[in-house]
């Protein structure tokens, strides 16, 4: 392999700001720029293809495919070197990449054969194919390195090495990634159908097996494109991490695809730039760690499915349920709803008095309770909500006893969990059903509070 046309600047001293800016704005020499852009394109394609692999739960199959490219690379090299009649250059990148792709597809086929024809499950099949193929690759690599033909660059495919990439290699990589990108976009609707409901797709006459095959081919394409920059062990990260990070932000497939592609491109771009700036920082690792940082950020901070958001949602729900219980307690306690002492409430919920006190203050601030010398007393709004919760409780009780065959002694226990999630529509339906059932019989359900008393967003 000829040395890169233009060496990437590596400094032992601390980085200067201008240096960082120069690399990030793609002005650090032709080669670095091309490699950075190619890595970004790769990330873009990987984020897109990986999103479908993630939704189809095929990520780890892709990992096996990536490991299986090693024997393909070494095999293609040996073939080209030992059979000169073919007229292939042993270290020519296209030859090696075609070998890699063929081996990866064979591995996919092997996994399918094992899971279909033996009792070995997919996880073990993936492990067997992944490690055996890699072992074969190691053996072939050992043979290749002992030939007279120089094979020094072969092991770069394991960890990837952007520093050894020429501009033409980078263009090839970007080209392959671009093909994967365009094909994925062209197949978007079909792949989405297979991912979300393969049974329906089959019934509806779509060639599910062929579409699954197409998805695998796309994954192989991305893997092959990423071999030089990221290396065959870590290329799986580009397929899985950006889409998994995007999944936290949205439930909408289109948005997830766009976000996944953006995250991938960002990882590729930042990672390649950073590795050009830092000494001894292999681009593959830096790209993966950048993606990992994006994932961590999304995991914690994403607004809809992030950990913090989920925590906040859970706390809100708990607060609402506790408020409902307190108001219901007040409602049940006294016919003209009288004040409830903190101690009563704390005992009813098995809370510490301090916790009950803090909670009561929260509800006062929301205008549901007022503090009186005798204890807490509901405001008209609070009273209405209490009435409503008590009524829902009774509705459910009745419904469960008459329709769902629940033993009357268990009714209280089960309604406590559902009364907070009733929708207005369901209440109306229940009400109508129950009233039809027991027409004439004395209603055990309290009458609906007048509409002014109902508060929006309650129960």
């Amino acid at each position: 392999m000829t040395p890169p046309a233009q060496a990437i600047p590596v400094h032992d001293q601390a980085l200067s700001v201008s240096e960082v800016v120069r690399v990030l704005t793609l002005q650090a020499g032709h080669n670095t720029t091309v490699v950075t852009l190619a890595a970004a394109t790769l990330g873009l394609a990987a984020g897109l293809v990986g999103a479908f692999a993630l939704l189809r739960k095929r990520t780890l199959v892709a990992d096996a495919l990536a490991h299986a490219t090693l024997p393909g690379i070494a095999g293609a090299f040996l073939l080209a070197a030992l059979v000169p009649g073919l007229g292939l250059g042993p270290m020519s990148l296209p030859v090696l990449l075609i070998g890699a792709a063929v081996a990866a597809l064979l591995a996919a086929w092997a996994i399918q054969l094992i899971t279909r024809h033996t009792r070995i499950r997919q996880d073990a099949a993936i492990g067997i194919v992944l490690s055996s193929a890699f072992g074969l690759g190691v053996v072939l690599l050992g043979i290749a390195q002992r030939l007279d033909v120089p094979a020094g660059g072969l092991h770069h495919f394991i960890y990837g090495q952007t520093a050894a990439m020429r501009a033409s290699d980078a263009m090839l990589m970007a080209g392959i990634a671009g093909v994967a990108l365009v094909s994925t976009l062209a197949l978007k609707k079909e792949l989405a159908l297979v991912c979300f409901n393969d049974a329906f797709a089959k019934v509806d006459g779509w060639p599910v097996a062929r579409l699954d095959g197409a998805m695998l081919v796309l994954a192989v394409t991305v893997v092959v494109a990423g071999l030089q920059a990221v290396g065959l062990i870590l290329v799986i990260a580009l397929l899985v991490i950006p889409p998994a990070a995007a999944r936290f932000w949205t439930d909408h497939l289109g948005r997830m695809l766009v976000l996944g592609a953006c995250f991938g491109a960002l990882s590729g771009y930042l990672g390649a730039s950073l590795s050009a700036l830092l000494p001894d920082a292999p681009a593959g690792s830096v790209i993966v760690l950048t993606a990992g940082a994006i994932f961590l950020f999304s995991l914690i901070l994403a607004p809809s499915r992030g950990v913090l958001a989920a925590f906040a949602q859970r706390q809100t729900l708990r607060l609402r349920i506790a408020a409902d219980h307190l108001l219901e307690l007040i409602h049940d306690n006294a016919a003209p709803a009288g004040p409830v002492t903190l101690r009563q409430f704390a005992r009813a919920r098995a809370w510490s008095p301090a916790r009950a006190g803090a909670f009561a203050r929260v509800l006062s601030a929301r205008g549901l309770l007022t503090r009186t010398p005798a204890g807490y007393e509901p405001t008209p709004r609070g009273r209405a909500r209490g009435e409503r919760v008590a009524r829902n409780h009774a509705l459910w009780e009745q419904y469960l006893v008459t329709h769902a065959d629940v033993a009357p002694s268990h009714v209280d226990w089960s309604v406590d969990q559902v009364e907070h999630v009733l929708s207005d529509e369901l209440i109306a339906r229940l009400e109508a059903e129950l009233e039809r059932e027991q027409s004439g019989a004395p209603a055990i359900v309290p009458p609906t509070p007048d509409s002014t008393g109902r508060e929006a967003g309650g129960a």
Binding site: F134, G135, L136, G142, A237, A244, S285
Partner: protein, 416 residues
């Protein structure tokens, strides 16, 4: 002989011990469908290992094991956290965690490359170099190996591996019952007072330690082959866990020895000077063993299955023909299935003397008895389906057509 003792003996033993340890543990991974946890952990021990080497400045076993155990714990915990908190699909959670940890390991490895006293080669990390475990001060003659003192100068990794292999074997022997119940039915295990989660955690820890112990001999990716392939091979041969453990250990150790032999000798056959990479050759041997077993295994092998299915198909075709002949034995209208019977089924029935050579064929005396037994099974299945499964009699009739070829329903375990 001297050359064998110096160059081959220790690598051979190291490979065999690694294979033994990993194969035993792998059985439980495969049974719990956690094979890929082995994959994830073996990738993810790398940063733990590198940190340990940087901190202690050597490949001393205690530091390395501590680092690997920490890395394994971090891996398992983060996978679990991401699965639960982030509601991420398990495969993706594993992929995220192990690739990030591995990337971290590679980065640290490259950064540490310049430091003194650290010789961890990034490629060696992946596929190991058992050939480097040469025993330069090996005794002159094999006879001297019988005295323990001769072993004192053997390379340390060998003793580490010996310790880990012994420990693993003992632990599995002692806790076999707990491991078995937790592997097959974690919920039952918990109700029986066996902490399934604890067993799982201990298993993951053991896998991490085995991975690191086998590290120098086989590297972090090929160790996956040693974990999974022998167990999967043994699983094709038996349904009993204890037998499976023995078989997997045998497969693992046998493949290690055979693979090493091939690696050392095969190149010479082709006139090449050097040996192949032994760890890679062992992996390929394991895979070859798996493929052969998958084809020829007595009950679960592909060939056995094809033969069984084919035999059943033939019997079904023949019994259907006999039943048809029985139903229409006095029927002059001769429905089409009797007019044009399945020729192969007819030949088979004739060769057994159940059908005459007339055209159209008739049942012989013994054929009549056989057909009656098929009809009886049909009726019994139909009754069973109507009575116990509550099927509509018309539907039960169609279903009984399929079930009449099985033993009669009284042999079912669920029948009183």
């Amino acid at each position: 002989m001297k050359q064998f003792l110096v160059l081959d003996l220790v690598p051979l033993l190291a490979l065999a011990l690694s294979a033994l340890t990993c194969a035993l543990l792998g059985n439980f991974l495969v049974l719990r469908r956690q094979a890929l946890m082995g994959d994830a952990i073996s990738h993810a021990v790398l940063p733990g290992l590198v940190v340990a080497v940087i901190l202690t400045g050597s490949l001393a076993p205690w530091g390395v094991f501590l680092g690997a155990a920490c890395a394994a714990a971090v891996t398992a915990l983060s996978i679990e956290l991401i699965k639960r908190l982030g509601r991420v699909e398990p495969g993706a959670a594993m992929g995220v965690v192990f690739s990030v940890l591995f990337a971290l390991g590679v980065l640290m490895l490259e950064q540490a490359h310049g430091l003194a006293n650290i010789d961890l080669d990034p490629s060696c990390v992946l596929y190991g170099q058992p050939e480097y475990l040469a025993w330069y001060s090996a005794p002159e003659r094999a006879g001297e190996l019988l005295s323990p003192s001769a072993w004192a100068s053997a390379p340390t990794p060998l003793f580490t591996l010996l310790g880990v292999a012994t420990g693993t074997t003992l632990l599995i022997a002692v806790f076999f019952k707990e491991l078995r119940i937790a592997a097959f039915d974690p919920a039952l295990a918990t109700t029986q007072g066996v902490h399934a989660g604890g067993v799982h955690a201990a298993l993951m820890l053991a896998v991490a330690i085995a991975t690191v112990a086998a590290f120098e001999a086989v590297g972090s990716i090929l160790v996956i082959a040693m974990l999974i392939t022998p167990a999967a091979t043994a699983r094709l041969l038996t349904d009993r866990l204890s037998v499976q453990l023995w078989l997997s250990a045998g497969t693992g150790v046998g493949s290690a020895l055979l693979g090493y032999g091939v690696a050392a000798n095969a190149p010479r056959l082709f006139g090449l000077p050097d040996a192949l990479n032994a760890a890679g050759a062992v992996t390929v041997t394991l895979a070859a063993g798996f493929v052969v077993t998958a084809l020829v295994a007595p009950t679960h092998g592909v060939i056995a299955r094809v033969v069984r299915t084919r035999r059943l198909a033939r019997r079904v075709a023949m019994e259907d023909l006999l039943a048809d002949l029985y139903r229409h034995r006095d029927d002059p209208s001769r429905p089409s299935e009797i007019q044009r019977p399945d020729q192969r089924a007819l030949d088979r029935a004739r060769s057994r003397g159940w059908v005459t050579r007339d055209i159209p064929p008739r049942l012989t005396e013994s054929g009549l008895r056989y057909a009656e037994s098929v009809m009886r099974r049909h009726r019994e299945w139909q009754d069973e389906l109507v009575r116990r499964a509550g099927l509509d009699p018309e539907h039960a009739h169609l279903r009984a057509h399929q079930l009449e070829h099985l033993p009669d329903p009284s042999t079912l375990p669920c029948t009183e």
